[in-house]
């Protein structure tokens, strides 16, 4: 198992990172909306920080695709 793990080329780290970000995106959108807006002065769409997280994750996926 350890030998297999050590022999994997480093490109797999890029694949695993991208997979991790996709899974994180799914988790982000499972968080209930009312928790996201807790304490917010209004419910404007820009205040939905799940959207901010989505942008952030998209940039990361691009970076790990670029530097592979």
């Amino acid at each position: 198992m350890m030998a297999f793990w050590s022999s994997m080329p480093e490109i797999w780290a890029n694949y695993l990172s991208i997979l991790g970000f996709v899974l994180l995106l799914l988790l982000v959108w499972r968080i209930p909306r009312h928790l996201i807006f807790s304490g917010a002065p209004d419910q404007a769409r820009w205040r939905d920080i799940r959207i901010w997280a989505t942008v952030l994750i998209a940039i990361q996926i691009v970076l790990y695709t670029l530097f592979s």
């Binding site: 050590s6 480093e10 807790s38 901010w52 952030l56």
Partner: protein, 484 residues
């Protein structure tokens, strides 16, 4: 030094001290001093988080590492930060907010026991003093390289300036000066990128030269047999343990979130910091690679950033980037001082002396800030004998972040973890990490194995000890999907 550079530097110092002293008028009690009277907006919090995060181990150490390994150093800003920052923003900050705590040790104390609270506060404080000392030393080295000041003069001057606004203005002064400092860092850093790329024949010229002479410098991950940063170690140690422990449980980082004017501002502040963090490699990784492409004549990799300032930037702009480095280091020092004095005032003194008058917290907090600053100033010269700045901080963190993260995760997401199991796991986990360090294991694997051991220990020992009542854990666990 060019007169224009000197004017920029003096102007910056005057503004920082003025802002700090002006905000000190709003500090009337410990709540104002430690949590800025819960008044911080999301963008101030976000910039302040970045200011706290970028420090000795970023500007000097990270650019030095980038000189050696290239863009792989950016993992500390991307996979080694962004996922954990998203989790901190959406899960942990709302949890701490709901628990109504001043600090992460206070949360652990409520979730486990006062003994865990004191232990966590003491461990974090000792590491923080070393981190402050390291930042002071890095700053003194920068001043020596750039201005020719002896290191002891650099330490003294920095101590007096940072001490003035941190002791008088508390978290509000720290957060506002941090925000200002980060804006300066980005302006200075982006100018370096622009000029550097122009001097090396545009982006295509820069990447062509780099990939020709150092082909792995444009890869995000290094091979499994790399001595310091094997990709498996980066994913397991940095991505799964060190990063979540730092971003979800780091007191210096999260204190400004707990000083937010609302829970939304606290969460949005961390997410805003994540957006800024994505572009930090332009500021701290690119200069190291630029020094390499420009065949910098330097003795040690850690000199690559000072070399870029001296050789790439024109007068005025070199002063601006010099300020950016001072600012980065100052913001780490001031944040460390404020959070350490908070933990000792409330989490150690408050538990060990339960009858102490809370009215004295402000006075004690200020005295402690001064004490820790003096301790760090005395410790700073010893940092030189402890190896590379970056490696030193990361090695220290790898010792206790695994056990702390295990306590936080099982404590936040399950009702199983018990007080006795928490204390046992914290003590034995740090001891195990110390043994692994003595055996010469890579710090990234130490963090990972310390974490795995602590998860198992906490889970198993909790099965044999008395759990807390479910009703006592309602505000201390995160379970939006749990069926009640």
């Amino acid at each position: 030094m060019h007169g224009l550079d000197a004017a920029v530097i003096v102007g910056y110092l005057v503004v920082i001290i003025f802002v700090g002293l002006r905000l000190s008028k709003k500090v009337n009690n410990a709540h104002d001093f430690f949590l800025a009277g819960r008044s911080l907006t999301f963008w101030i919090i976000g910039l302040s988080i970045i200011g706290t995060n970028i420090g000795a181990d970023s500007y000097i150490g990270a650019s030095g590492n980038a000189f050696q390994i290239g863009v792989a150093q950016a993992n500390f800003e991307w996979i080694g930060a962004i996922p954990a920052m998203i989790l901190a923003s959406l899960i942990f900050i709302p949890l701490y907010w709901k628990a109504g705590v001043y600090s992460i040790p206070e949360y652990l104390g409520k979730r486990y026991s006062p003994a865990v609270r004191v232990m966590a506060a003491l461990i974090t404080s000792v590491v923080a003093v070393f981190a402050i000392a390291t930042a002071l030393w890095a700053l003194a080295l920068t001043l020596e390289t750039y201005l020719g000041w002896p290191t002891w003069v650099g330490i003294m001057v920095t101590g007096i300036i940072v001490g003035t606004y941190s002791i008088s203005g508390g978290l509000a002064a720290v957060a506002f000066t941090d925000a200002l400092q980060v804006i300066i860092m980005f302006v200075g850093g982006l100018v370096v990128v622009w000029l550097g790329i122009s001097e090396t024949g545009g982006l295509s010229g820069f990447t062509a030269t780099l990939s020709e002479s150092h082909p792995t410098h444009l890869q995000a991950y290094l091979p499994a047999d790399h001595e310091s940063f094997p990709w498996q170690g980066v994913l397991l140690g940095l991505g799964i343990v060190l990063s979540p422990a730092y971003w979800c449980a780091g007191q210096a980082i999260l204190q400004r979130s707990l000083g937010a004017r609302s829970q939304w501002d606290a969460s949005a502040g961390m997410m805003f910091a994540g957006l800024a963090k994505t572009f930090i490699p332009l500021l701290v990784v690119f200069p190291g690679m630029l020094a390499l492409v420009m065949h910098a004549d330097i003795e040690f990799p850690d000199q690559s950033m000072p070399w870029v300032i001296k050789n790439v930037l024109p007068p005025g702009l070199s002063g601006l980037l010099f300020i950016a480095i001072i600012a980065a280091l100052q913001s780490s020092i001031d944040s460390g001082l404020n959070s350490t004095s908070l933990m000792i005032t409330r989490d150690v003194r408050g538990v060990l002396l339960p009858n102490a008058d809370p009215q004295n917290d402000l006075k004690i907090g200020r005295y402690l800030t001064l004490t820790f600053l003096l301790a760090a100033m005395l410790t700073a010269p010893m940092i030189a004998q402890m190896g590379g700045i970056y490696q030193f901080i990361q090695t220290i963190l790898s010792l206790f972040q695994g056990p702390m993260l295990a306590l936080l995760l099982l404590g936040a997401f399950t009702r199983r973890a018990t007080a006795k199991a928490g204390l046992w796991t914290l003590i034995s986990g740090v001891a195990l990490a110390g043994v692994l360090l003595q055996l010469g294991l890579n710090m990234l694997y130490i963090a990972f194995f310390g974490f795995v051991y602590s998860l198992i220990s906490l889970w198993v020992v909790s099965g044999f000890t008395q759990p807390a009542q479910a009703r006592d854990l309602t505000n201390l666990t995160y379970a939006p999907w749990r069926r009640t």
